[in-house]
């Protein structure tokens, strides 16, 4: 079937298999920041923004993204870069495999929540698993980033 969508501002039209998942569509177009960590919609690694909302690209048919706008880390621009710097300064990325999904959800959170508390941050990001960091360094990076941005 034919779909037409926008990925990182670029229009893509393609004939796809009906069963194709959005994650595989994105990876096949070179957006390999999008990672798969599970098959049960539990890890958050594959998070991308669809019309500004964070979703799990592993659990969405590419067909469903027809007519929508998708943003992956490759297209997240300055915002992602700014937050990445705080992550790097804490050594919070570790193996880095969960970083793209986390960064996308942090961007979504920043847009949605005004001056979130620590508890609200944890709540919003609870669907992003990380096995390396123990989450503390991520929290330090997020708090510093949000502070910086609000100045």
């Amino acid at each position: 079937m034919k779909i037409s969508l926008t990925v990182n501002g670029r229009k893509i039209q393609e004939d796809i298999q009906e069963s194709m998942l959005l994650i595989d569509f994105l990876r096949s177009h070179g957006y390999t920041s999008v990672k798969r960590g599970c098959e049960t919609s539990n890890c958050g690694l594959c998070t991308v923004l669809m019309d500004d909302h964070p979703i799990l690209s592993c659990s969405m048919l590419a067909a469903r993204a027809d007519g929508h706008s998708i943003v992956t880390l490759e297209g997240a621009g300055k915002e992602a870069e700014a937050f990445a710097e705080f992550m790097a300064k804490e050594g919070a990325e570790q193996c880095g495999f969960c970083s793209p999904g986390l960064i996308m959800n942090v961007i979504a959170m920043k847009k949605e929540l005004k001056n979130p508390t620590k508890e609200e941050i944890k709540q919003y990001l609870s669907g992003n698993l990380c096995r390396c960091s123990g989450y503390m360094s991520q929290m330090r990076a997020i708090e510093k980033y949000l502070q910086e941005e609000s100045v």
């Binding site: 069963s19 390999t32 804490e90 960091s133 123990g134």
Partner: protein, 757 residues
């Protein structure tokens, strides 16, 4: 020191945080054939017949291989130095399957969909055997997991395979029975730790291709590229010279990738079909068909006097290695040798058996047996403190190992660097121990405190080898080649920091690369907490050599004597400062023909000792009186890892290890059904701690100085997972009155609804 003990940003941070294609599956060529594996639905069975004819008719299917198509040699998947201590008990495919998930057929096709379709059409006729699932009944069971005749082992490990014993042994220091008989109090308990999944975010994966020289190239997410070369050579019956292994960025390992689970399949397929092939394990396969922590049952007897003097500890460990023996004989050793030395004892005894069952193979997971043993010994010490009505910290301060002590259960090594006492005192201060009681009633909840100590090793003494090569390049920068495998921990950066410190330059001036067995110097790999300590020392030695070479070459070029020259990292000048040359100029001269020569140095290191890092952890948890729910309130940890090389990365290691330890203590449990099928085989059923589950984790360091380590450093990667289980168990016991001795500590067990097994 300018570069050591600094929060240097990881060299790969920018790439990882911008989502660059640097991991195995990002790099695989698009025309790779896809490999899927048909796995056994039975825990123990013989394959009588396999018919692949229907499956082969599916469009897109390239080949299907069964046990009849693969080499007959037995080998081990364990990433260990040859001769491995793990038995050679497996094949690529075999006509006997020994656990639910064991490989039956290799399906190769153009995409995943056709492979999955073909998988359903392979007809297998099994003769199903009764499986051996309970590891406490393994020894001398009528069911023998490895009845075959060509089973072999390379080293005496106390193996009695027909009794299902992979390995057994006993180490006694002093007369334990006599000491225990003299004690005022003897605590005798059983503790049980479960198989846990390492659960790194990137599942197992590798791809293979043939190069212009008809050599087999394997790109793999592995901790052990050089061992993979040997394992694949063994499995495929090829000379090692035919094989090259490349390690790109890895999405975590935690020991899981110290076992070469998937590489043999892509290697075999590519060698056979002469086409590139790729295998990516699903999360389900990673759970049910790779490797996990060894499940262990430990029997502990601790004897002490009324005044709190601990006299003797007797520990017996029974370890479940599953269907294959990878890391079985070695992990069990750590359960005793890295728990008993925490205390000064008159006598100690450690005995063990490791047994086969028809469950998934166990393997390496951070802590490697020490985690299990420390849960048992530290829990028993906590129960002793409660029995003596003594403060558990006071009891420890009175008995713990100190610098200069000889550790009889630690191969008689001396603790040459140890600030464990300061670690505990600092942890007590951080949590405000003196002003808190072990139990505080909060109304609906009760808050409890618990403590534990831990140790680990730094590399494997006389076994691990790290080697490095460092080259001065023509612009005055350096290329550091290492065989150690950064798996997200940041060892590339840490080793570059050491090189920069030695060479008096900025870390940016040191270039590092991933591992390529063709071009990287040999390294046993990143496991056993060895990289900072062992490979780090090789970096120091190589850099010292290079500095000498720089001065020697400069003396020729500057027409002066070596003794007259000083190299400060930027300039090479004579003592009288009459002549000077920048490193940059010097490097260009070296590269210019006819004048100088290109400089490089290499060295390797292996240590005769394995100095333990130490740590103290204190858990503060809340237990709901009615539901039994356990909430992590606070966790403080203070670590002696010798000199801290990278203050950020060390801290994150500690925080990450504690979070995994919290998972082990409270949540994680690989559960099988009565037929031996793993039912906790996804992130939906096997719960990792989320950021809402770990509470606050606070970390500090009490650096000692380890004389045999680079800049005084010891290891940190593994010791950090060892304190949470015993500390949390004790905190929960203080809060609830219920001592849970079988992990994980669930609300149900706390309220006594589920009996311990």
């Amino acid at each position: 020191m300018k570069q050591i003990s600094q929060p240097v940003v990881k060299k790969d941070a920018a790439a990882l945080l911008s989502g660059k294609p640097v991991y195995t599956d990002d790099l695989a060529m698009k025309d790779c054939l896809i490999i899927k594996l048909l796995r056994s639905p039975h825990a123990f069975a013989k394959i009588k017949k396999i018919d692949t004819s229907k499956a082969l008719r599916i469009p897109g299917i390239e080949a299907i291989f069964t046990y009849e198509d693969v080499p007959n040699t037995r080998f081990t998947l364990a990433g260990q130095t040859y001769p491995e201590l793990s038995p050679y008990d497996g094949k690529i495919l075999e006509n006997i399957v020994r656990y639910v998930g064991d490989e039956v057929a290799i399906i190769v096709g153009k995409d995943e969909m056709c492979c999955e379709q073909a998988k359903k059409l392979i007809q297998v006729e099994y003769e199903v055997y009764e499986p051996l699932l309970d590891f406490t009944k393994a020894i001398d069971n009528k069911i023998v997991v490895h009845p075959e005749d060509d089973y072999k082992y390379l080293v005496d490990i106390g193996n009695e395979v027909k009794r299902n014993i992979v390995s057994q042994g006993r180490d006694e220091a002093g007369d334990v029975e006599k000491e225990l008989s003299l004690c005022d109090v003897v605590i005798e308990r059983d503790y049980h730790t479960k198989a846990n999944a390492q659960a790194m975010m990137e599942t197992f994966r590798s791809y293979a291709y043939l190069d212009a020289y008809n050599r087999l190239n394997i790109v793999s997410s592995t901790q052990i590229p050089f061992h993979v070369r040997r394992i694949v050579a063994n499995a495929l019956e090829l000379p090692k010279s035919k094989i090259r292994v490349i390690k790109p960025r890895i999405g975590g390992g935690f020991g899981a990738k110290q076992t070469a689970c998937c590489e043999i399949f892509s290697a075999f397929v590519t060698w056979k079909l002469k086409k590139p092939s790729k295998i990516v394990y699903t999360r389900e396969e990673t759970f049910m068909a790779s490797n996990s922590r060894h499940e262990m049952k430990m029997h502990v007897r601790v004897g002490a006097m009324k005044d709190g003097t601990i006299c003797a500890i007797d520990l017996h460990t029974l370890s479940n290695t599953g269907a294959y023996g990878e890391h079985g004989p070695t992990t069990v050793g750590l359960s005793g040798h890295k728990s008993l030395p925490l205390y000064k004892l008159n006598a100690s005894c450690f005995s063990y058996e490791v047994v086969y069952t028809n469950t998934m193979r166990a393997g390496a997971y951070r802590g490697y047996g020490a985690t299990q043993g420390i849960f048992a010994v530290e829990s028993a010490i906590n129960e002793l403190a409660d029995a003596l009505k003594m403060d558990p910290c006071e009891l420890r301060l009175k008995n713990m190992v100190e610098e200069g002590d000889i550790m009889p259960q630690y191969y008689n090594e001396t603790a040459n660097s140890c600030t464990l006492k300061d670690c505990l005192l600092k942890a007590m201060e951080l949590i405000d121990w003196k002003n808190k009681s072990l139990k505080t009633d909060l109304g609906d909840k009760v808050r409890g405190l618990g403590v534990a100590l831990a140790m680990q090793g730094s590399g494997i003494a006389n076994v691990d080898v790290g080697s490095v090569r460092i080259k001065l390049e023509d612009d005055g920068f350096y290329t550091l080649s290492i065989g150690a495998t950064d798996m997200g921990t940041g060892c590339d950066t840490i080793l570059a920091q050491m090189a920069a410190e030695c060479l008096d330059c900025e870390v940016d001036q040191i270039v590092v690369q991933g591992v390529d067995t063709d071009s990287s110097p040999y390294d046993t790999g990143s496991y056993a907490s060895s990289t900072t300590y062992v490979t780090g020392m090789a970096v120091v030695k190589a850099c010292e050599q290079l500095k000498e070479k720089i001065v020697k070459e400069a003396a020729l070029l500057m027409q002066t004597k070596e003794e007259e020259l000083v190299f400060d990292g930027k300039m090479i000048r004579t003592l009288d400062e009459n002549k000077a040359m920048s490193l940059n100029e010097f490097a260009y001269l070296c590269a210019a023909g006819g004048k100088g020569k290109m400089l490089m140095a290499d060295d390797s290191h292996s240590s005769m000792v394995s100095p333990p890092p130490f740590m103290a952890g204190i858990a503060e948890v809340d237990v709901d009186k009615l539901t039994g729910e356990i909430t992590m309130h606070d966790y403080v940890a203070v670590v002696d890892c010798g000199t801290v090389i990278n203050t950020n990365l060390a801290r994150v290691q500690v925080e990450g290890g504690i979070a995994q330890g919290i998972g082990m203590a409270l949540l994680e449990d690989i559960v099988y059904d009565k037929n031996g099928r793993m039912i906790a085989n996804s992130f939906m059923q096997y719960k990792l701690p989320t950021r809402k589950d770990v509470g606050e984790i606070r970390v500090d360091f009490m650096p000692s100085y380890e004389p045999t380590g680079p800049f005084g450093a010891k290891s940190i990667g593994e010791v950090v997972i060892n304190t949470p289980s015993p500390a949390i168990a004790s905190a929960v016991a203080h809060a609830s009155g219920q001592y849970v001795r079988t992990l994980p500590i669930t609300p149900e067990k706390v309220l006594g609804f589920k009996h311990e097994d």
